[in-house]
């Protein structure tokens, strides 16, 4: 309501599979840090954060029927309209979860075209930390997203312990959020393309064939 013209939209997607997941915890911190980093650059932002877990059935249904139910469509729309995205998934078997990939597939090929994306993942041990680089980043490169250089991975030990690891996690969050904020602030707010508005006039459709 008080959004200034230059206000940006950040979508935070958490693919965590448990009700209060570490992935959601990390996603929330990244979302907050991104808003703070944008504010420090004089840019207001609204954040929409959501879990995929309550949409698990809807995601499968949408794959089978070809259309998304109302709640799922609202989540898809939030990502499609976002100026920047935080994408967070747990790591299972060395990569993002099937649920996370299912959601990304439903967004379509053009959803992340040139959109700044911060990649994040969680796992039980640090052994999985490269999943960000060998699984998440190639997926978003394929989708032509602008992935920020710093990916944020959090293993169990990053959340507590002697404080050293936890401090390091905060540092990575700050750095990655700053990189996302830089990219978002340097770009014009996204205009959501209305496919009906942009439908080519019939004379152009026909004309392009007649000149060949």
């Amino acid at each position: 309501m008080t959004a200034r013209p230059a206000s940006r939209r950040i979508a935070v997607v958490s693919g965590g599979l448990s009700e209060t997941s570490a992935t959601r915890r990390l996603a929330d911190r990244l979302g907050e840090a991104t808003v703070a980093a944008l504010a420090a650059r004089g840019v207001a932002a609204e954040v929409t954060t959501f879990d995929l877990r309550p949409r698990a059935h809807d995601i499968t249904n949408a794959m089978l029927t070809g259309f998304a139910g109302r709640s799922l469509q609202a989540d898809l729309d939030a990502v499609l309209a976002a100026d920047g995205v935080v994408a967070a998934s747990p790591v299972y078997s060395g990569a993002y979860t099937g649920l996370f990939k299912g959601f990304v597939d439903l967004l379509g090929q053009a959803a992340f075209d040139g959109t700044p994306v911060l990649l994040a993942a969680t796992a039980g041990t640090a052994r999985h930390s490269l999943a960000l680089e060998h699984a998440m980043r190639p997926l978003f490169s394929y989708l032509r997203a602008l992935t920020v250089p710093t990916g944020v991975f959090a293993a169990s030990e990053d959340w507590g312990g002697d404080g050293e690891a936890a401090g390091a996690l905060s540092g990575r969050i700050e750095r990655a959020a700053g990189e996302l904020a830089d990219l978002v602030a340097s770009r014009d707010p996204k205009r959501v393309v209305d496919e009906y508005e942009n439908a080519p006039a019939f004379t152009d459709l026909l004309g392009s064939l007649r000149t060949s």
Partner: protein, 379 residues
Amino acid sequence: MQLGVFSVGDVTPDPTTGRTPTQHERIKALMEIGRKAEEVGFDVFALGEHHDHPFVPSALTTMHAFLAAQTERLVFSTSIAHITTNDPVHIAEQYAMLQHLSDGRVDLMFGRGNTGPVYPWFGKDIRDGIQLAIENYDLLHTLWRTDVVDWQGKFRTPLQGFTSTPRPLDGVPPFVWHGSIRSPEIAEQAAYYGNGFFHNNIFWPSSHVRRMVGFYRQRWEQYGHGPADQAIVGLGGQVFVRPNSQDAVREFRPYFDVAPVYGHGPSLEEYMRETPLTVGSPQQVIERTLSFREVVGDYQRQMFLLDHAGLPLKTVLEQMDLLGEHVLPVLREEFAKGRPAHVPDAPTHASLLEKKEAGLLLPRPAHESARQAEEEVSA
């Protein structure tokens, strides 16, 4: 309001018995459904073109001609015929022939066909889908309206001095609907020619259908065919009806749960909430169908899918009896109420012939004739 039956002609095992009908049985069943459609008072019967397993309707004009010989009143349409992979010359001739044999009881719904392998099977590339739909229909439109055609395009052999035969009955080509579930370009195409727009309406939430039809109506007006509410709109929809709604749900559920197009996904209840699927009593079918008017405005054609997912022929025919007796008369009456006088009915051969005799049918869309005239003047 035209009320009709449309089928995709799938050969699907009946999940309650495990039995799969033979292709022969299914083809004969489709013919029986067609005859029944006329008997119980439907206006239109349409078959969807398929060339892939497990569907049987490949030769639509043969099937419709067979039925035309056994009926008096029923109009035959396609749901849909492929405008992308069929030769427009072949379409022009086959459907003009059907038009003569059926005394004008034929129109067409065209679509691109959404089965990937069909394109290469017919020597085409699916990436050209929209372009093929545009070029092929434009040639068909010309072949039916111009006696001697010189033509060159991107996808087909050029034509020199070609006349498709037979010429359309009374010089009036069959009315054409363009069907699409998601491409604004096709709604645009329908609007450009002043043709009908058909939305299958089975798989999509009403918010989407509203946008698609709204776009078509708006473009229809922009192309100078008249006010948006005079555009010609058709909708699909699926019903399963029993006198008592609990019986309908209980009997349809095993078919729904494993149906090739939506089985293993949302529950029957979710699907009914999100899409036009109606499983219930005649009164529920009436109320739901009438509610489509709130989504797309007064429209001209409502088609019902009744016979897929392995439902036995006997069950399909019982549905048709129930619809004919309890639903169709009420829908006709209710759809007529409050419908503005200037909203036209779906075009038929008789109404198009009348228009032609009044000098109102132009060989090309009016705006294009004007554009061509301008170009000729400036050249």
